[in-house]
Subunit: 143 residues, 4 copies
């Protein structure tokens, strides 16, 4: 398998340097594993994200999916902090458990200008996905 | 024009009762106007949501769009706090300004089981949208 | 209002030259109106597109929406027959009538590399949309 | 593995009975394999679907994906010809080859009211997908 362009640790250091207000120890997001074009990230369960019915909020899952994609983009093309999401589509499949969320991102296309991937989100300890996301990132060009 | 099923004030009271941890004075989200099947909501600019390049984060816009749709759903069918988003698709169009965001939600279908709408997000004081969202809500059924 | 980059007639001539097998008199698709970044196109009702329940098929509406967007792209940036759809998302809102379909496309962003728009489809003679589409086109670059 | 609710042959017979004008020997669409919640279908290459640049048209891929999902829905819940697509989102990833297309559909959620799945489309003989689709079907209810 092709080696990732950046390791999980290097991506974490870059994110902390670029988004100190969003990515820091205790922020709730962490990177568990990175392969080329793939990333597994975690969101630590937090009561404050619950919505009526006791389920994790949709925005919490959208933010986690965007984070997972961003890490996967770095794993494939290296440090590109100015890569931006152009489209994100999420299907909410099941009510999440009161547990951590695990997001597995997988890139389907790594183009010069556009990167497209999908993210599947699970409640830790369950087999059935709680949400599925497809997203497109636009990569800044020299020209 | 048909009257909304709930006023902006009634929706704000319901949201505060149902989501005290998420919707409260100073949370950054406010409801500016409600008509039948339509809502205009605001996100107060907050430096902590900036990402590299000094732009407002995507998740901030996704959360605002979901909030705007949720208010619009209440405006059409009344209090249904257990209505859940089943699909949300966002296109990021332009870099937002360092300013408040205004989201205009408009329902395109109000069905017995599914409600579908679109949300257009602007940076305050600009005419060109920064993001466009379509979303589907599922309404709990008696049977 | 800014003038379109190409007229409806010029776009029809270009499409007929580029897609003789798909766009020709009697193909069922026609261009009714073009403004800058906007297009109204028509699909002529055809029994053979009906599906169980007597409704127009989804692929018929997806094809019409893609056609409307394609015409709108030409109206904004001129002849770019190699522009390609990168993403198309459609919400089916109501059962279409046994009638022609009218699709109104409106571009929301005309960028150097990406064009994003929405298309609303109606059954002729009805006010409520039968489908809503958002789509992104990628524009070939010199560099 | 759970057995499918209908076999490939039974689904083909049902589709031919319900859509004689769209699904018949030589229509270009065929069902290659069905498992519970999964389907592999084929589109036979046809010059008339080519667009400028010699690539297969987007609508051809959208129609194939919708067909694959429809078959997968039957494989999970049995004959429901009135099941309707409510949302379909497609990402076009690569230029297809001048070859048959193979679409693999996989359901991610089989609910009482909504079925959600993804479809990956390949040009026969290639490993990299040409398009990826997510779609939601609404199932008619007794009540």
């Amino acid at each position: 398998m092709r080696a990732p362009a950046m390791s999980a640790d290097d991506i974490a250091l870059l994110l902390h340097a670029e988004f100190p207000q969003a990515f820091y120890p205790g922020c709730g997001h962490s990177i568990e594993r990175v392969d080329f074009g793939k990333a597994r990230v975690r969101w630590a369960f937090d009561e404050s994200s619950l919505r009526p019915g006791g389920t994790v909020s949709g925005p919490t899952m959208m933010e986690l999916a965007d984070f997972a994609m961003y890490v996967a983009v770095f794993s494939a093309i290296g440090p590109q902090p100015l890569a931006v999401t152009t489209n994100l589509s999420i299907n909410f499949l099941r009510k999440p458990a009161r547990a951590d969320l695990i997001a597995n991102a997988r890139l389907m296309k790594v183009g010069k200008r556009l990167v497209v991937g999908e993210v599947t989100i699970y409640s830790e300890g369950t087999d059935e996905p709680v949400a599925h996301v497809t997203a497109t990132y636009s990569i800044p060009q020299a020209c």
